[in-house]
């Protein structure tokens, strides 16, 4: 009987750990110099991965918000990676020239990362907890999402 119970608990435990959604570890390169960048390298921090392109209007709206959020939460162990998906780099260069972005800008013109993350909209953002699991996904960017995203980041930061 006890053995059955134990195996039942074990099954539940493994089911729960299997339902955790590990963030795909895809290879990116840093936008500025092309140095290799690994999303798994940010484990231990709450990471916000945003996929954007210069031709996408809501992406432009999200940039000031991301800069502000990064500045606020960085000391608490928050990391933000904005992955550029432009096929032509000129557009992204012009876009970034007008933005004040302190956070990490990465690029993936081949589109391997968005394929692995199954990006369905532009922009799409993924909130990854300290253990490396995707906890929240946001499709698109609206003004009203701001408070929700901040609350989610705060909640994830308070987790061990």
């Amino acid at each position: 009987m006890i053995r059955h119970l134990a195996s039942g608990f074990l099954a539940v435990f493994f089911a729960a750990s299997a339902s955790a959604n590990p963030a795909p570890d895809c290879r990116l390169s840093r936008y500025q110099d092309g140095a290799p960048l690994n999303i798994a390298g940010f484990k231990g921090k709450v990471t916000y991965v945003d996929f954007w392109a210069s031709w996408c209007g809501p992406c432009l709206q999200s940039f000031p918000f991301m800069a502000e959020t990064y500045k606020e939460f960085k000391p608490k162990g928050f990391e933000l990676i904005a992955v550029n998906l432009d096929e032509e780099r000129e557009g992204a260069d012009a876009f970034l020239a007008k933005q004040h972005a302190d956070f990490t800008i990465a690029s993936d013109p081949a589109g391997d990362c968005p394929r692995q993350y199954d990006v369905q909209a532009m922009p799409s953002s993924f909130l990854i907890d300290r253990k490396g699991n995707i906890r929240h996904v946001h499709l698109g960017f609206r003004e009203k999402d701001k408070a929700e995203i901040r609350a989610q980041i705060e909640a994830l930061l308070s987790e061990p």
Binding site: F51, A53, S54, W55, C56, L85, D86, E87, E88, G91, G111, P114, R115, V119, Q120, A121, M122, S124
Partner: protein
């Protein structure tokens, strides 16, 4: 005959290239202003509005004096 079949097969082999879907991040070229269906959204809205108001009353599109203008 065999030649024709071969040519047909070659053409058919190229067809799968047509069914690729465009991923959300691959729409950069489609987002360019020159790719828009109408060059000027506001102008076309105005034209359509006028067209509807004229067509659904008496005179046709582009003809002055027709319709009550109340649409």
């Amino acid at each position: 005959m065999t030649k024709r079949v071969i040519v047909l097969c070659c053409h058919l082999a190229l067809l799968p290239g047509c069914v690729q879907t465009v991923a959300p991040w691959e729409r950069g070229a489609l987002a360019k202003p020159q790719m828009a269906l109408v060059p000027d959204v506001q102008h076309s809205a105005l034209m359509l509005h006028t067209y509807a108001s004229k067509e659904t009353s008496s005179a046709g599109y582009g003809v002055g004096g027709g319709g009550c203008g109340c649409n």
